[in-house]
Amino acid sequence: MAQESPSRPGGRVFDIGYQRYTGPREGRFNARRAIFIDSIKVSLGLGRGGWAKFVPWLFIAPAMLVGLGFAVLAAFADQTLGESGLEDELNLPSHFDLLNATGIITMLFAAVMGSELMCPDRKQRVMHLYLVRPMTLLDYLASKYCAFFIVMVGVLLIPQLALLIGTMFGVDSLTGYFQDNWVVIPKFIGGALVIGIFSTSFVFLASSLTDRRMVAALIAIGFLLIVSAMLGILSEAGISETLFDWLQLLNPLSLSFGTVSGIIFNEPDSDSSLNRAIPLIWYAILIVGFTVATWRIYQSKR
């Protein structure tokens, strides 16, 4: 008996030609949102190739590991040392200590990924294509700034959250813990915001000076290292403490991670002879200065 061959799925493709777009056009808001989302992806390597994915996590992973280490210590210290009474003597690391421990890693992340975010647009001249669309230079810079600031705050907060969770595991009563220590949460969020704003403004200025990402990253890292090293040498040379305290204001690391976030955590630098208001005012001046300088440089290179 002859078998009927099964019919194959078929179809024809018609080219319907060019279709005019009649949908909504959302203008500048949509443009800013698109740049914002894309900048978050660039900063975290999402939707990019293997190497672009690897680099940010090269810094984020160690910061998370430090946070996890602190969290494990906080979770098990009570169980292990609780009865011996050594826990109080050990002075377990706080959220402020964790912020300082992850400081250099997060600043390296800011230097490398901030340059990655800002420089290629100018080097490859993609920025022109953004600016000929419904978007101003201010829209462009503000969208990138907000995106990178949020990424920075996230990178700073994840280890803090790990420590908070670890601490929660270690306490007998969660309610009691939060009643006594609720203030620690706004403190570490405040610390992350303070450092996030500072590091974003700092690396944006470094990135505005060149369109080569490696050079921009080296400018930012080099400045941190050189200032830290020079202050170390001056300290060894025996300059007066007052002068040293003033010079410390030039060190972005100690200013943002130590002094300013220390004030938020209410852990003032006991060695400093300066009034608390001075680093805060200087911090504000630097943020404004970095931002205005970045804006002016971008305007001139437009």
Binding site: G17, Y18, Q19, R20, Y21, G23, P24, R25, E26, G27, R28, N30, A31, R33, A34, I35, D38, G47, R48, G49, A52, P120, D121, Q124, R125, V126, H128, L129, Y130, L131, V132, R133, P134, M135, T136, D139, R302
Partner: protein, 302 residues
């Protein structure tokens, strides 16, 4: 944004731009209407400056630039404008699909629609199959197509193409010119083509605006500029010298260039005299045609 249908697409009203001691544009006044318009001129004529002013990338020193009836500095106006720069402007680590989707979003198109528009536009420029490959792996011709596609992806009313055939081989140039014509004839998008290549303009444009030293030297339809002249080319296969003598006897000024006899200011009775000279010299006629002006002659001021 509302587009004023009665307004010209572009309107330059006494537009001037001074860069230090250099006068890039000098009271240039011209309009661009629907169709394909060539913006012509030698290097330094002010073409790129005019385009940069219309795109809002630089401000005019004096005068007024309008896009579809709105000020060129109004960012929202640029939702319906596309721009293909001469220089490289593509991110090498992204796929064409991702890049075009981002560009559509930055132009105000919602994300879901932006993806569909990106795919459609890449199909129209012949890159549909390669749309997920990183742009860095594309050939020069393919990169030019991506540059063109990003200017089209948001379905603009007008696109400004700056030297779109730059760096392409003869085949690539022909394809690009066909694509430019297709964009207007099939897609209904108006085009301003900035170039110094006369042949491209003759093959593509309906109208030209010619700039020279920042001033408008010509503003006319291509057909009128290249219309037939009263100079005739007469080509005979034999007895060329006798034909020349016969013309001389009748007082007809002419010159012999290679195989052709060129006769200026030929009309009316003088045409009959040429016919008689051909008969008298017994010269077999191969071709007799009026000379067409070439844009290059206008460009050179002939």
């Amino acid at each position: 944004m509302t587009i004023k249908s009665s307004s010209p697409l572009l309107n330059a009203d006494n537009l001037s731009k001074q860069y230090g001691s250099v006068q890039a544009l000098d009271n240039a006044t011209f309009e661009v209407h629907p169709g394909i318009t060539g913006l012509l001129g030698p290097n330094g004529a002010g073409k790129s400056t005019a385009i940069r002013i219309f795109l809002g990338l630089t401000d005019a020193t004096s005068g007024r630039a309008e896009i579809m009836g709105s000020d060129a500095n109004n960012a929202e106006t640029r939702t319906r404008l596309g721009y293909m720069p001469e220089h490289d402007c593509l991110p090498d680590n992204l796929s064409a699909s991702y890049f075009l989707t981002l560009m559509a979003e930055v132009s105000g198109i919602p994300r879901r629609r932006a993806r569909a528009l990106a795919a459609d536009t890449l199909r129209h420029v012949g890159l549909f199959e390669e749309r997920y490959r990183p742009i860095s792996t594309y050939s020069t011709g393919m990169k030019q197509r991506v540059k063109l596609a990003q200017s089209l992806v948001h379905d603009p009313v007008l696109i400004l193409l700056d030297e779109p055939t730059a760096g392409l081989d003869p085949n690539g140039r022909t394809e690009m010119i066909s694509l430019v014509r297709k964009i207007h004839l099939e897609f209904g998008i108006n085009v301003v083509l900035s170039t110094h290549l006369m042949h491209d303009v003759e093959r593509t444009c309906d109208r030209i605006v010619m700039l020279d030293n920042g001033r408008v030297a010509q503003d006319a339809e291509v057909a009128k500029l290249t219309e037939e002249t009263q100079t005739f080319y007469v080509e005979v296969t034999a007895n060329r010298e006798q034909f020349s003598e016969a013309l001389g006897k009748r007082g007809i000024r002419h010159s012999v260039v290679a195989s052709s006899v060129i006769i200026p200011n030929l009309s009316g009775e003088r045409l009959d005299a040429v016919r008689d000279a051909l008969v008298e010299s017994n010269a077999p006629l191969r071709r007799m045609a009026p000379q067409q002006r070439a844009l290059i002659d206008i460009f050179r001021g002939n």
